[in-house]
Every structure is written in structure tokens, then in C-alpha cells.
């Protein structure tokens, strides 16, 4: 901290304050998941009863399973589509409608969720009226909606990696007798695999996290986890949600540790094709 425009102590206290701001609410929430009392106002002792309640709450468990299923399928599809889109933008030169394409690809990043949700619902309703598909709404329509907005995020991540890839690698492969399609599979895909994994994780998280869009395009039988949580917490504090939060934070923590380890390993074996 040598070249500070301001004094280091000032920056240091800013950092401390900022991180406290970011983490104290989460820690308090987790702490109260161990409170025996139903109320948040008093601490009546340590207890795991809310975790027990959570485990027995079939509605939450079902919703969580549904959310995971949707997140898995939509992240996988979004990764495939987002990678294709990134390839199209960075490797396919000019094609008709390219401007429209890149516009449509970027727009979901900044579109308010209420609008995405509303417009997709109207599409589904119109389609159902016109061609009879999708009949009713449920997990499938939520999956489609999640693919649509998360593929944009995947495309951004993959595109950044593609732009950093040395084009000479692809030319070298072609020079040695490989056709363009083969180049994609031999050279490009292995080298962007880490970015695709990050994109997948991002899409997975976005899908798990989404409340608004899912609320619009879900049917009566398909409540995702955020929808169930929302219906519980809009009426106030409920300690089993605190327990759920603690569980999620724990899972995410472990997940990030594993992903970080995996990615560090992949980076060690696969990033030499990137210009620094």
C-alpha cells in the first residue's frame, strides 16, 4: 500500500466496514438459525430444532429438488447455447443479422426480471393458444425461461475466453489438415472448457436463485425453492428459513472451494493458449 492517494488507514477501515456490511447480516441470520425461540427478539438457547423442522418440511424439500433439477437442465442447455452463441460472435465473421443477434444476446443481462418473466409468460400463453404447446406451465417453461436469460451470462464468460485465445492455434490446426468443424472440437472446445465450466456454474446459480421469472412462468404444481421461501418470508421472519439459509451457505461454501480447486487444476493444464 505504497502509492495511496489516501491514507492506508482510511482505505483499510473502508475495507473493514465494507466487508462487515457484506457479511454481518449473513452471519446474524445463520446465528439465529440455532436459536431455540421462534422469535428473533430473544435468544433462548442453542437448538437444532429448526433444522429438524426443515428436514420434515416436505414442501421445501420437494421445491429444492425441483429447483435443483431445473437448474441442472437449464444450466446445461444454457452452456451449450451460450457457447454456440459466443462462437458465432467471435469466430463466424459477419453474417446476416449479426447486430440483432449480439443485441439479443446482451439484452437479457440488463433486462429487469419482471419484464423477462411477463413477456415469456405471454409468449407461452400465446403459443398454447396457437399451437397447443406448451400445454400448461410448469418445470419445462421455467427451464426454457432460465435458459434464455442465463445463456447470455454464459456467452459473456465464454466470449471473453475466446477473445483471449491465440488465433494462430486454430490456424495451425487447419494448416495441419484439420477442417474448421474439427478445429472447434480439437482445439477450441478443450481450451475454453474452464470458461464453459464457470459459465455452467453461473447459470446454475442464477437458475437456483431466480424468483421473479419463475413466478411468472410456473404452473400451480411447480413451485421452486425461491417461490416457497418467498411465500414464507413475505409474512415475516420464520426460523426454519434461517436454517435453510445456513444450509445453503454451507453448500455454497463447499461448492466454491471444490470449484476453485478444480479450476486451479484445469488452469494449470489448459491455459497456455491464452495471450497474456
Amino acid at each position: 500500500m505504497r502509492r495511496d492517494g489516501r491514507s492506508p488507514t482510511f482505505l483499510f477501515s473502508c475495507l473493514c466496514f465494507g466487508f462487515a456490511f457484506l457479511y454481518v447480516p449473513i452471519l446474524v441470520m445463520i446465528a439465529y438459525s440455532f436459536n431455540d425461540s421462534r422469535l428473533m427478539s430473544v435468544w433462548t438457547g442453542f437448538s437444532l430444532r429448526w433444522y429438524g423442522a426443515l428436514w420434515e418440511n416436505e414442501r421445501i424439500i420437494d421445491a429444492a429438488l425441483l429447483s435443483l433439477r431445473i437448474a441442472f437442465v437449464s444450466a446445461t442447455l444454457a452452456t451449450a447455447l451460450g457457447t454456440l452463441a459466443a462462437l458465432a460472435i467471435t469466430r463466424m465473421g459477419r453474417f446476416r443479422g449479426r447486430t440483432l443477434f449480439s443485441g439479443m444476446l446482451a439484452a437479457p443481462l440488463v433486462m429487469p426480471e419482471v419484464i423477462t418473466g411477463l413477456s415469456l409468460l405471454m409468449l407461452f400463453v400465446t403459443l398454447e393458444g396457437a399451437v397447443g404447446w406448451p400445454s400448461g406451465r410448469g418445470a419445462d417453461t421455467i427451464t426454457i425461461a432460465h435458459v434464455t436469460f442465463s445463456m447470455a451470462y454464459v456467452a459473456v464468460v465464454v466470449q471473453a475466453r475466446l477473445m483471449g485465445l491465440d488465433r494462430a492455434l486454430e490456424e495451425a490446426a487447419m494448416d495441419l489438415g484439420c477442417r474448421p468443424m474439427g478445429v472447434t472440437f480439437d482445439i477450441i472446445l478443450p481450451l475454453i472448457a474452464p470458461a464453459m465450466l464457470s459459465g455452467w456454474l453461473l447459470a446454475f446459480t442464477l437458475s437456483l436463485d431466480d424468483l421473479v421469472i419463475a413466478s411468472f412462468v410456473s404452473g400451480p404444481e411447480s413451485s421452486t425453492l425461491p417461490m416457497v421461501i418467498y411465500s414464507k418470508v413475505r409474512l415475516g421472519i420464520t426460523p426454519d428459513v434461517n436454517a435453510l439459509a445456513a444450509v445453503i451457505v454451507a453448500i455454497v461454501g463447499i461448492g466454491i472451494a471444490v470449484a476453485g480447486w478444480l479450476m486451479a487444476r484445469m488452469a494449470r493444464t489448459g491455459s497456455a493458449g491464452v495471450r497474456s
Binding site: 489516501r6 457484506l22 419484464i115 436463485d209 421473479v212 418467498y230
Partner: protein, 302 residues
């Protein structure tokens, strides 16, 4: 395609190229563009009790049925004006607060020792990976009458009795700042980290001291990051629904929430569509600014 783009031999590869671009293209046309067109058209229809709850756009007898009633209603009923304005005000205040907290943090991280930087960055991003909804919920507990914040205020003797924080505009602002802070810090960090330390040394060397160097060099050069970060906070905050509905009071009429209620409670699809269309229109300007800035940033990075 830059190098090798126009070569004729690419013809046999057309099929492959068509698949790569065509599949995501088609998906976006069907599931992103078409829905907008539909929203736009429904916004010109009349509401109807039934399923779907709006008049058909095509009538065998009368041809195309368009009505501007919904838009007229938007201008007549104060509810919508107030919602749009309040959304903008809250989003703006929250963006400024984010900047105020985020800038020193980003600066601090950029100037930290390299070993620390990645750890600090990870700490900034970590909350993002946990549930958004639950992070907002966390503030419900923090801000409630018996919550940690009020307890702290009482203990410090700043207030005599619990104050109402939850269900106010302030709580909404706080929630937005809390959830969107990482989006402010990351682009700021990206520009600040790239700033050449030698440049600052040189400026400090030429007199004026570190404060002047900060004002003359760091601040102007980090402008792209400030704009990018502000847009990344402002744009989603404007259409935010979850935060005002959980932390806001009944009078915290943000437009996302109004739209949601219009749709789910009043079941007025055409009017909701009109609200959405206007919101898109409002968002176009900041989005264009954002695109320009990020494009400039990409070019500068090259």
C-alpha cells in the same frame, strides 16, 4: 472474422457455421424477441375476464384491434407516475451509495498486496453465490423492531425506543446497496487495478502530493469503471421487485412491484404490458450508455 474471413474455401463449412450461429439465434428469436413483440401488442388490447384475459388482437370481423387506452390510463392514474419516479429516485440514491462504499473498497483492494487481492475479490463475490432472496431476507431480521440494528442503536443510546426501519424506502435502498455492491466493486476494481503505479508516482513527483495525484490521475482514469459499475447497479435496481416487496412499505411503489401487482393481483394483462413497454423505453438510454462504455473499455484493453 478478421484474418482469413473472406476466404472462399469456407463454403463447404457453411452447414457447420449455420448450425453454430443458427441454433442460439433461433432460440433468442423465439424466446426473447417474439415475447417482446407479443407484450407490445397485448399492451394495445383491452382487458377481458377469461383466459387469456385480453381481447384477441385479430378479429375475424373487424381486423386488427388496437387501443391506446392502456397508455392513456398510465398517464392519468398517479400510481404509475409515482412508481416510475420513485423507482428512479431510489435506484439513483442506491447507486450513489454503492459508489460511495464501493469506490474506496475497490481502491483498497487494487492497492492491496497481490496475494491479498484475490482473496479480497473472492470475498466480494462470495455473497453473490448465495441466495439473493435469502440475503434480502437477512435484512428483514436485521432491521425489524427487535432486530440487531435496533438493538445496537438502543444499546448505544442513540434512540430511546426501537425505530421503524423495516418497510421504509430507506430499507429498500439499503437492500439494493447490499445486494448490488459487488457489481459496483468489480468493474471499479478492473480499471483501478490496471492503473499504472508509476503514473501515480510520476504525478506525486511533479508536486501536489498524493491527494492531488489521486484527483488528477486516478479519479479521471477510473471514470469508465464508475460509469460501468453505476449502470450495473442502476439498471437492475430500477426494475427491482423482490427488495421493495420484502423490505419496502406499502407506499414504496417501485415500478417492478407495481407491474407485478398489476399482473398477479389485478390480473390486468394489457395494462401490465403497457407498464412493461414504458419501462423498457426508460431503460433504453442507460443500456445504450452502458454498451458504449463497455465497448470502449474492450477496445482500450486491446
Amino acid at each position: 472474422m478478421g484474418r482469413g474471413g473472406s476466404a472462399e474455401w469456407q463454403r463447404p463449412e457453411r452447414q457447420w457455421r449455420r448450425t453454430v450461429a443458427g441454433v442460439p439465434y433461433l432460440w433468442l428469436l423465439v424466446f426473447f424477441l417474439a415475447p417482446f413483440a407479443i407484450v407490445l401488442r397485448i399492451s394495445f388490447a383491452d382487458p377481458l375476464i377469461g383466459q387469456p384475459p385480453f381481447t384477441p388482437l385479430h378479429d375475424e370481423a373487424q381486423g386488427l384491434q388496437l387501443t391506446a387506452d392502456n397508455y392513456r390510463f398510465l398517464t392519468e392514474d398517479d400510481l404509475y407516475w409515482v412508481s416510475y419516479l420513485k423507482s428512479m429516485r431510489i435506484a439513483l440514491v442506491a447507486t450513489l451509495l454503492c459508489l460511495l462504499i464501493g469506490y474506496p473498497m475497490a481502491y483498497g483492494i487494487a492497492r492491496a498486496r497481490p496475494v491479498w487481492r484475490n482473496v479480497l475479490l473472492l470475498l466480494v463475490m462470495l455473497p453473490f453465490w448465495t441466495s439473493f432472496l435469502l440475503r434480502v431476507y437477512a435484512w428483514m431480521g436485521m432491521l425489524s423492531g427487535q432486530g440487531v440494528v435496533n438493538k445496537a442503536l438502543l444499546a448505544l443510546g442513540l434512540v430511546d425506543q426501537p425505530v421503524q426501519i423495516l418497510y421504509t424506502d430507506f430499507a429498500v435502498c439499503l437492500g439494493i446497496v447490499y445486494t448490488y455492491l459487488p457489481f459496483m466493486i468489480l468493474p471499479l476494481y478492473a480499471v483501478l487495478e490496471r492503473l499504472d503505479g508509476d503514473l501515480l508516482d510520476a504525478a506525486a513527483d511533479l508536486g501536489g502530493g498524493p491527494r492531488q495525484a489521486f484527483l488528477d490521475i486516478t479519479l479521471p482514469l477510473s471514470a469508465p469503471g464508475v460509469v460501468a459499475g453505476s449502470m450495473l447497479v442502476f439498471i437492475p435496481a430500477l426494475g427491482e421487485f423482490v427488495i421493495p416487496s420484502l423490505l419496502g412499505g406499502l407506499d414504496t411503489l417501485m415500478i417492478g412491484r407495481t407491474l407485478y401487482d398489476e399482473f398477479f393481483i389485478n390480473r390486468d394483462w394489457p395494462l401490465a404490458s403497457a407498464v412493461a413497454s414504458v419501462l423498457v423505453l426508460i431503460l433504453v438510454l442507460p443500456i445504450v450508455v452502458f454498451q458504449r462504455v463497455s465497448q470502449l473499455g474492450r477496445e482500450a484493453a486491446r
